[in-house]
């Protein structure tokens, strides 16, 4: 070590100066601030929207309490309620679960796990992606032509059956795509391990691919139900009722399914077009009722999302153990 003390000291301070000085990353700071700003802007809009809706809806729930949830559509804001809308939306959700879930999951598993990759399968996949982007009003036309007019003997025409089947078809591409993506994400080592000890394709799919893909599939299907719950355009084309809807309580279930119907998004649409005059008894307006209906719809979606999260966590815990 022939280096003298003075050279060490000077190099040390030089190194220190070099390490602590240097230019500040101004562009980087500006960029980070911009990111935060954009995030806050979107958050702000969401908050304002929610605040506005909840503030308007509160008096409805205070003055009408559960009557708002149990009453039927009516011309007076004192009496109108969303029970028929909730029923219609739940039936539509049930149709999506019963029709679109099994078909969509099966199609997604086939495309990813069974179909040999070829130009044809790529073409099919591309078109399913395109279908997911088709505007919902187009599906409304399809529902009108096929289920309301074509199969009116079965569906009863402008009925909740027609609506449920149409919306099930609307969300089918979403379910197929998310299923295929979840299946694609299954590590190939897991499949090979199964095949390696003599599993057939069905056994490998049942025991390894599907359980591993289940949380992703579940998330996709729940998003699909939420989407179906929020769609208004196809229902308007199919002919959901926006005004007064008389449902006799002595009707059988099949008659109800095949009869006139409404659903939450359509109720909201209808009330937005009502004359905004306060009711004589409660002083509530349709505008306020509308906000309350939005809160109910958001509540439905929220319950579904929470259910999806709980189920997914349970699946994921199983996957790890």
């Amino acid at each position: 070590m022939a280096v003298s003390a003075s050279t060490v000291a000077s190099t040390r301070s030089a190194v220190e100066a070099a390490l602590t000085g240097g230019r500040r990353d101004v562009k980087g700071i500006v960029f980070a601030m911009l990111l935060v700003l954009c995030m806050l802007a979107s958050l702000l809009m969401l908050t304002v929207l929610l605040w506005d809706v909840v503030a308007q809806a509160l008096p409805v729930f205070q003055k009408r309490s559960t009557g708002f949830l149990t009453n039927e559509l009516a011309s007076s804001p004192d009496k109108a309620g969303v029970s028929q809308g909730i029923w219609g939306s739940l039936v539509i959700a049930a149709f999506v679960v019963v029709l679109a879930f099994p078909v969509g999951i099966a199609a997604g598993v086939y495309l990813e796990e069974y179909a040999t990759p070829s130009r044809l399968t790529r073409f099919i996949q591309l078109n399913i992606r395109n279908l997911a982007g088709v505007p919902s009003v187009v599906y409304g036309i399809l529902g009108l032509v096929v289920f309301v007019k074509g199969f009116d003997g079965v569906t009863g025409g402008r009925s909740v059956i027609s609506a449920g089947v149409t919306l099930a078809i609307l969300v089918l591409p979403i379910i197929i795509i998310t299923t295929a993506e979840s299946v694609r994400a299954v590590p190939s080592g897991l499949r090979e391990a199964g095949y390696g000890v003599g599993a057939t394709r069905w056994e490998a799919t049942r025991d390894h691919v599907l359980p591993y893909a289940a949380p992703g599939i579940l998330t996709g299907t729940m998003l699909a139900v939420a989407r179906a719950l929020g769609e208004a355009a196809p229902l308007l084309l199919i002919g959901a009722i926006t005004g007064r809807l008389a449902t006799a309580s002595d009707q059988g279930l099949l008659d109800q399914l095949r009869g006139k119907f409404t659903a939450m998004p359509v109720v909201i649409y209808g009330w937005a077009n009502e004359v905004n005059r306060p009711g004589k008894k409660t002083g509530l307006t349709f505008e306020q009722l509308n906000s309350a209906a939005i809160v109910v719809l958001l509540g439905l979606v929220l319950v579904l999302n929470i259910a999806a999260i709980v189920l997914r966590n349970r699946f994921e815990r199983k996957r790890q153990s």
Partner: protein
């Protein structure tokens, strides 16, 4: 062909789409021996290994030409059921890949598929497979715990136990120690020596010392550049007793490789 040959390949070649990954492989794999496949990356040794239990079937576009015979039966005959092939010819993979299930269920999976249902029978199979893989003492008190909670070396031994639980005749090992530390590697190598009298073993390895330590015979694969494209096709350069391959190889490319001058 003598009865001592488990596998015989003649003019074996594998295509991935239009690309020929390996060509003209002629090998006789002898019963009860450990055969090592060595060679540089991309020389097709794993590809050839995967022909022996038809694992290449799972890769879209893979095509096998030539002949692979297992006890004289063409493995790629239309009558042959790939699922049955894989029950007799087990495989251990490069990356330990236990199922995300309990240790017990990992080992019991194969036997269950094969139709073993009785609890005490399964218990017995699981215990003997885990003992055979030198894992029983480590895990006997936590069979219900996840296989993913084990260390890397233990996971690989669990995979060996899983593969042997269906009592295969052959064990194919595709670089089973490449992700393990030297101690875990030594345990697997010891295990291979113990398993030798029960199984015919073929091991692909990047590690020449490993091949020299564990194997009876060694096949050296190399690559040659195709004149029409710059993609490389694997070829079998030399196949002989391991002792000879490492002391007095017949091909100068083998000598260059095993002495570390190439690859």
């Amino acid at each position: 062909m003598t009865d001592d040959n488990v596998f015989t390949t003649r003019e074996l070649e594998v295509y991935y789409g239009a690309f020929r990954a390996v060509r003209e492989v002629n090998l006789d794999i002898r019963r009860g021996e450990i055969t090592a496949f060595i060679g540089p990356s991309g020389c097709g040794k794993s590809t050839v290994l995967r022909c022996f239990n038809r694992m290449n079937d799972l890769i879209p576009g893979a095509k096998v030409g030539g002949k692979v015979e297992y006890h004289g039966i063409d493995l790629y005959d239309e009558q042959v059921n790939a699922v049955e092939v894989r029950r007799r010819i087990g495989m251990v993979f490069q990356k330990a890949n236990p199922f995300p299930k309990s240790i017990y269920d990992n080992v019991a999976y194969g036997p269950r598929l094969a139709g073993v249902k009785k609890r005490d029978e399964l218990d017995q199979v699981v215990e003997s497979a885990l003992r055979g893989a030198a894992l029983w003492d480590d895990v006997k008190d936590r069979l219900k715990e996840s296989g993913l909670g084990l260390s890397g070396g233990q996971q690989q031994r669990l995979c060996i136990a899983r593969a042997t639980a269906v009592e295969p005749e052959v064990l194919l090992m595709d670089e089973p120690c490449s992700a393990l530390d030297p101690i875990a590697t030594a345990r697997i190598e010891d295990l291979m020596q113990e398993m030798k009298d029960r199984y015919t073993i073929i091991i692909v390895t990047h590690n020449m010392q490993q091949a020299a330590r564990v194997s009876d015979r060694t096949a050296f694969f190399s690559t040659e550049v195709n004149p029409e494209s710059d993609r490389r096709t694997g070829v079998l350069v030399e196949y002989d007793l391991t002792k000879k391959m490492f002391s007095n190889p017949g091909d100068e490319r083998t000598e260059a490789y095993v002495t570390g001058r190439f690859g």
